[in-house]
Amino acid sequence: MKHLRALVTLIAVVAMTVLLPGCGEPPRGIVLWHPYRGGEEAALKKGVLRFEAERGLKVTVLAVPYEAYLAKLEAAIPRGNGPDVFIGPHNRLGEYLLHRLVAPVGDAFPDADAPRYEPVTVAAITYEGERWAVPLASKCGALYYNPRLLPEAPRTLDDLAAKRDFALGPGIWPLAYESHTAYWHSALLHAYGGELFGAPASTEGGAGAPPGFAMTGEAAERSLDKARELVATRVVPDEASGDLVKTLFTTGKAASVISGPWLAGDLEDKVPYEVVPLPSIPGVGAMRPFLTVDGVFMTPEGAKSEGARALARSLGDAASAAERAEIGKQVVATRSYWSAQDGGGDAAALSPEAKRQRALLVAFHEASADAIPMPVSPAMNPVWVPAEQAIRKVLRGDASPRDALAEAKARYDDVMRTPPREAVSPAPLVVVVGLALLAAAFAVVRRVRAPGFRRELAASKPAYKYVLHAAITILVLVVLPLVAGAAMSFFAGTREEARFVGLGNYVEILTARGKPLLSHGSFYLTLLVTVAWTVVNVALHVSIGLVLGIALARPVLRLRAIYRVLLIIPWAVPSYVTALAWKGMFHRQFGAINAILVALGAEPISWFAKFSTAFAANVSTNVWLGFPFMMVVVMGALTSISKDVLEAAEVDGATRWQAFRLVTLPLLRPTLLPAVVLGSVWTFNMFNVVFLVSGGEPDGTTDILVSEAYRWAFARNAQLGYAAAYAVIIFGLLALMSKVLGRIGGGDAKEAI
């Protein structure tokens, strides 16, 4: 009784702590959320203060970290404790709409205000004829160049191409940008009049519907030819990551780079630079980057408040814009600021630093005029992923632009295929689930009927009390998610509009979606790769682990303790750190492995261009990660083998190898076997390495089942049901594998020691 009262009190206290702040809050006026920091935040606050003074309204400004921004909005707005207005990037609009977080801005952006803003920003925040935000500022790519290397601002790509083959100095690239990404390639694509995103393939799903795949046709092919030419003629390095681009520029190894305004913050004074709009392609047109616009959005609740609308409108006015530009250093969307600059403004009075700052803004503003606003759809991955695969493939020279794009389109179509029909009758599912339940029931009955079951049950009653909490924990943390995941596999479509399809997902997976069974991306091909991956890895883990374990167990080796620690280190480092390090080492132009190959006089290898080399790269990384475990297991198992037994074998006439094969190995087996089962399961599911090192390159051929499942869930239009079906199949395969491996181990070996 006492316990009960204590429990009730505890619950009440907890509940009050959680609920009270919500109830007891005083009226807070208009609430504004923003993800800004530093100067951007200061500029915003200044504008808000002025608004408060003018209108006599109270505004609460809350900075929310960008990483959690969307999640917090999603959580807070439907419950009514969210903001009235919030600032966010326009390309999230699709998501905002999907979760009903926003309403049209109404008189915060009357038609009369349209001339007030840059047309491109107005276009960005307009969707289906409605204006959904007051545009504040925009971000897009521009060309940074190093005036020491390029005294003249490069205006065309040809200006840069003229410096090819390291004409500027050894190892100095004329231009660096993330050429293999769809985001940056789009600047080229747009120059040729192409498009990445098209109209949604289907109209259902509204703002959540994925855009169409528009990167086809002559424009797209020509853009790829151009990109390939830039890489092949050594104007641009291949596969440069964002970090590499930055490093090349700051170290003077790239005369110019294409990047966004964020790069300026990182450059500081490390290297002199100027910014100009992206170069144009002679005879074709200007490169046009993607544009993202920060805007003030209204929540459905906020849209009803006149004060909130007035606040949103005032944030777009000339005074606020000037503050954002001067203090926040943003490329503001309000035109009045820029027309003042054109007139020369008060430039004479400015410090050189401020002048420079202003020149930077002007350059980005100029660049934004030609930029293409990002689409607002939340589901862009079905387009991004195949487009990037096509771009990489062409850049590597593995396929012509036409073939690569046709393949990408096919892949897009595959992902966007009509989901399985709604199950006409749930009969097959009922049969399968029914059979499973029947088998389980049969097992239970057999157990209960077994002699002595009741007696045992009664005798172990206290034991059940002790394991109860653990059982509940396991039920909640393991069993329920498993069941939920399995249940999800009977549905198709995205999270928002899931439809029950029975075993439809399984049928699609197991029939390879109607294509040949071993066709690209089919379940069977992936399974084959996964099995090869597991076998090769585990075999290498065990053999290297055995050799090193035995070598380290021998007392003759000096500095044994040091070797042991050194060899265990790969295991101690988090696997994604290792995976990223290896990814870097396999880079074609800047990786350590190719550097060694070149130093030895071999040709550098494009590791991720071919299945065999990409697979080998993955395997080396995973072997590096995995052998220490087997080594430690072997070392432990060796200490349990008596020295006498090995000497007995020696006296009995065994050579070293025979003693190892006939005595050591069989005695290691009982310990090694569970380790092999565990290792196989880990390797079978080794997502980190495959995802981070090869990322499935080339063309998703090195993907294993888990990374494939991941892609279905997160990179292909959120087909969670389909991914869940993959997961259930993986689970079944692993359960089967453990069972089989356990049986191979045999009973008697386990008892031998």
Binding site: V645, A648, G653, A654, R669, D748
Partner: protein, 398 residues
């Protein structure tokens, strides 16, 4: 252990009474044909610690040789050198007239029974027995025959399909022996094979080992620290101490004529009583005096070295001391501290003098009832049972 003792023991072994040939540090004479196993001038050190400091060993065909000594004396190392599990720093080893000094164990044709039995835990008894034969490519029929023979000899027939962990200690011991027997090796090597057994089983298996040896006529080298095993099993006993052979020969001979104080105390239970004293010549007779003892010495035995006044250690085995009754000559008086009655006999512990060491004397079972702690009893001993050791070198007088 002082250098003097080693020097003494070296002399003792070199002019020993056994049938072996003489050897010295400088020359390595030919090993006679009849030797199944012989080692010459073996030296072995582990790091800076010398374990064997120049050991010679000869085991004639069919002999049961036992190496005995305290722990650390090098006896197991010597066995492992013969097996080939260690390599000697110096010296040579021959097996059946073959120089095996640098051969690995598999090429020596030896079989070894380990203290831990060292059975292969993953193999059945049958496979354990067959292991060595299979490696040597013996035919299946031959293997079966030998296993059958050995298992009949050792009573293993019903255990052939069991795993080692399903056997008792004694059974494992027998399997280990069986594994050696089926091999029919040049020499059997036993490394303290009985020390993991309980006392009753030990006595039983001890007899069994001797019986097997007699039956097979096999040459055997057996290592133990247990003097009972050493005494009962050996044809030829080798007492090792500090990495050197202290004395060798038939066990009874060593028991009766220990050549050093160490050998005298190591063999025999309870230990030989030792008292410091000196020799006194009186009227043509020689007496040993000291520590409360005054006894005539058998001058037939110690002809040469009985100088008057020589400092000696007097040794008398407890079994050679008795309660002096009637007019039997008395050599000492024992102040009894305790009496251990074992039924068939008894041992009285006590002192001869107030400052002397504890002395043990054997009593007849009947006397054990009358001798009480605290009483003083007269002790007698035959002059022939008095051992004399040089006080400086600890070497027996000869």
């Amino acid at each position: 252990m002082s250098e003097a003792i080693h020097a003494a023991s070296r002399t003792a072994t070199n002019d020993g009474t056994s049938a072996s040939v003489e050897s010295s540090d400088t020359s390595l004479p030919e090993v006679p044909r009849a030797m199944r196993c012989a080692a010459r001038g073996i030296k072995k050190a582990f790091g800076a610690t010398p374990i064997l400091r120049g050991v010679d060993l000869e085991i004639p065909e069919g002999t049961f040789a036992v190496l005995v000594g305290p722990s650390g004396c090098g006896k197991s190392t010597l066995l492992r050198l013969v097996a080939g599990l260690e390599e000697a720093d110096e010296g040579a080893i021959t097996l059946a007239d073959r120089d095996v000094t640098h051969l690995p164990p598999r090429d020596r044709d030896v079989a070894m029974v380990f203290q831990s039995y060292a059975l292969y835990p993953h193999l059945t008894v049958r496979d354990n027995l067959a292991f060595g034969l299979k490696l040597r490519g013996t035919s299946t029929a031959e293997i079966d025959e030998r296993i059958e023979e050995a298992s009949a000899m050792l009573g293993l027939a019903k255990l052939l399909d069991r795993l080692p962990k399903q056997l008792s200690g004694g059974q494992r011991q027998r399997v280990a022996m069986g594994r050696a027997i089926v091999r029919r090796p040049t020499i059997f090597l036993f490394d303290e094979p009985l020390s993991n057994l309980d006392a009753a089983l030990r006595a039983e298996v001890r007899v069994e080992i001797r019986r097997l040896h007699d039956r097979l006529g096999a040459t055997t080298l057996y290592v133990t620290h247990d003097q009972v095993e050493a005494m009962t099993l050996a044809d030829s006993l080798w007492v090792l101490n500090g990495g050197l052979v202290e004395q060798k020969g038939p066990p009874l001979e060593i028991y009766e004529r220990p050549r050093t104080k160490f050998v005298a105390t190591f063999l025999g239970s309870p230990q030989m009583n030792l008292l410091s004293g000196r020799l006194v010549k009186e009227g043509g007779l020689v007496f040993a005096e000291g520590g409360g003892v005054r006894s005539r010495v058998d001058d037939e035995r110690f002809r040469s070295e009985l100088d008057d006044g020589r400092e000696v250690t007097i040794g008398v085995r407890p079994h050679d001391m008795f309660l002096a009754k009637g007019d039997a000559p008395k050599i000492a008086e024992l102040k009894v501290e305790i009496v251990e009655a074992l039924g068939s006999e008894a041992f009285a512990h006590g002192w001869l003098t107030s400052s002397g060491p504890t002395v043990i004397a054997r009593l007849d079972a009947a006397d054990a009832r009358t001798v009480k702690p605290g009483s003083v009893i007269p002790l007698g001993a035959a002059p022939t049972s008095i051992h004399l050791f040089d006080a400086a070198t600890d070497r027996a007088l000869a």
